[in-house]
């Protein structure tokens, strides 16, 4: 790729990702309303699409208040981390045969590292707020994300064993003979659950838990700093959906009557809708239930999945 093309890809990816995150606010509200027999926002513009514009303008013009008791530097820094780490993760995703920002040979490890960085935004945000609810949310968030990260990594190793590569482009190429959802259905399930916990989306929104902890780690945030957490969450949904598609559903692979990018977007969209459906239908588990489920069921299951995959790969 020439330098010009390179910048074009970076700009395009950034533009699409940020706009998707904003559009998801509208999509989620409309989809939730659809599943709850309501209409949702349908007044501003066609299908209420301009609600995105109104929300953005509102967020920009809200008072950007820093509590006097907060640790100011960390307080400002925390929302930057979540957006930056998610955006960095997007660099390794192949959207189409030659459309990816960084063709890293350790792509999967980079993704895991960046998603671990996301924990810092929650912990730092909750700590700097100097508020008991924020701190409780941050503690929950840290332990949830760290423990779910363990078998998130382990579940991905099945894919690595099958494809023999950490490079996402090569993983997609290796799926030409068949998508990894079939041999790795257990791994897919574990990765999906861990991904939901990683983006702390419902039903695993325990760090926020608005019915228990006000708004959890971002209780004290307002204006565009809150907006960064908000956008970070929606970009996280997009990221996990595109990772699921890339690792288990063949990425941009698909019948030739549609271009590869469209296939990628379509598959990702299905998983984004699954995230929203989960939010519409699932109750939030208790904190100890979440930990028990993670360590006692999903962790051994992911180890078993990895060992069985490795054994089959060795024998065949």
């Amino acid at each position: 790729m020439s330098t010009g093309q390179y910048w074009l890809v970076i700009g395009g990816v950034l533009f699409v990702i940020l706009n998707t995150a904003a559009g998801l606010i509208w999509l989620e509200r409309r989809a939730l309303a659809l599943w709850q027999d309501r209409y949702g926002p349908n007044r501003a513009g066609p299908f209420g699409l301009f609600i995105v514009l109104a929300d953005t303008i509102k967020l920009f013009f809200k008072e950007d208040w820093i509590p006097p008791f907060a640790d100011k530097v960390v307080f400002v820094f925390a929302p930057v981390v979540v957006v930056a780490s998610v955006l960095m993760s997007f660099t390794i995703i192949p959207f189409a045969p030659n459309v990816m920002v960084a063709d890293l040979n350790i792509g999967l490890l980079f993704f895991l590292a960046m998603s671990s960085m996301g924990v810092y935004s929650i912990v730092l945000g909750g700590w700097a707020s100097n508020n008991k609810y924020a701190l409780l949310g941050a503690m929950r968030g840290a332990s949830q994300m760290i423990s779910y990260e363990v078998f998130m990594g382990l579940s991905l190793m099945g894919v690595v064993v099958l494809s023999g590569s950490f490079n996402l482009r090569e993983i997609v190429e290796a799926q030409r003979s068949g998508w990894y959802i079939l041999p790795q259905c257990v791994g897919f399930f574990i990765f999906l659950v861990a991904g939901i916990a990683e983006t702390h989306r419902l039903p695993f929104d325990i760090p926020e838990a608005e019915s228990e902890l006000v708004a959890g780690f971002h209780s004290e945030y307002s204006g565009m700093k809150f907006g960064m957490f908000f956008i970070g969450e929606y970009m996280g949904i997009t990221l996990i959906s595109s990772m699921v598609v890339t690792l288990y559903f063949g990425g941009w692979l698909g019948p030739a009557f549609l271009p590869p990018v469209i296939w990628f977007v379509l598959k990702t969209f299905v998983f984004i809708m699954l995230f929203i459906l989960l939010r519409a239908s699932m109750p939030r588990p208790r904190y100890d239930q979440l930990m028990e489920y993670g360590w006692k069921i999903l962790f051994p299951l992911s180890l078993l999945n990895l060992m069985v995959t490795a054994a089959i790969k060795l024998l065949l």
Partner: protein
């Protein structure tokens, strides 16, 4: 696990259900006849005011939003000199309607009373009086009550016996 998937499926099926929302300004929800909304003062079949200024509504009101002053006309009928309801306080509980002995004060199925200026929510008697008998057509307090007014003495009301002559010994 299966029950979670089942509930997800059931929620997904709601996609094809009818939506419950009334698109309000375009489609108004049907209000039942006894819906407790805007308060009005009704008139009797002859077009006179039903209110006799007994203050029972003001006494029953839990938020003290009714204020009135009774006075008497030359023919002996009582009526309110002024009658004021502060709708910024009113909670539409309907106690005034229950307390009213003459069916004068009634709550109507209408809630679209929003104002930009708070002072406009204070309704005077002119605003409250409606040209209707409300929920009790044909009812006229002075025609069924034993009270004597000009042109109708005691015992002349509908279904009323003439008063007992306390100075006579005859049965």
């Amino acid at each position: 696990m299966l029950s979670l998937l089942h509930s997800m499926w059931l929620v997904f099926l709601h996609m094809f259900h009818k939506r419950e929302t009334y698109q309000y300004p375009e489609h108004k929800a049907p209000l039942p006849a006894r819906w407790r909304g805007r308060i009005a003062l009704t008139r009797d079949p002859d077009g006179g005011e039903r209110c006799v200024g007994c203050y029972l509504c003001a006494a029953a009101c839990p938020v003290d939003c009714i204020s009135l002053q009774a006075t008497e006309a030359e023919d002996g009928r009582r009526y309110p000199l002024f009658f004021r309801i502060n709708f910024s306080r009113c909670i539409f509980c309907g106690f005034c309607e229950e307390a009213c002995p003459t069916y004068a004060i009634q709550l109507l199925p209408d809630f679209e009373m929003a104002e930009y200026n708070r002072q406009n929510l204070v309704y005077e008697k002119d605003d409250l009086l409606i040209n209707s008998q409300g929920k009790y057509p044909g009812y006229n307090y002075y025609r069924v009550a034993g009270m004597s007014i000009q042109g109708k003495d005691k015992g002349e009301a509908e279904q009323e016996e003439p008063p007992v002559d306390i100075k006579s010994l005859l049965p």
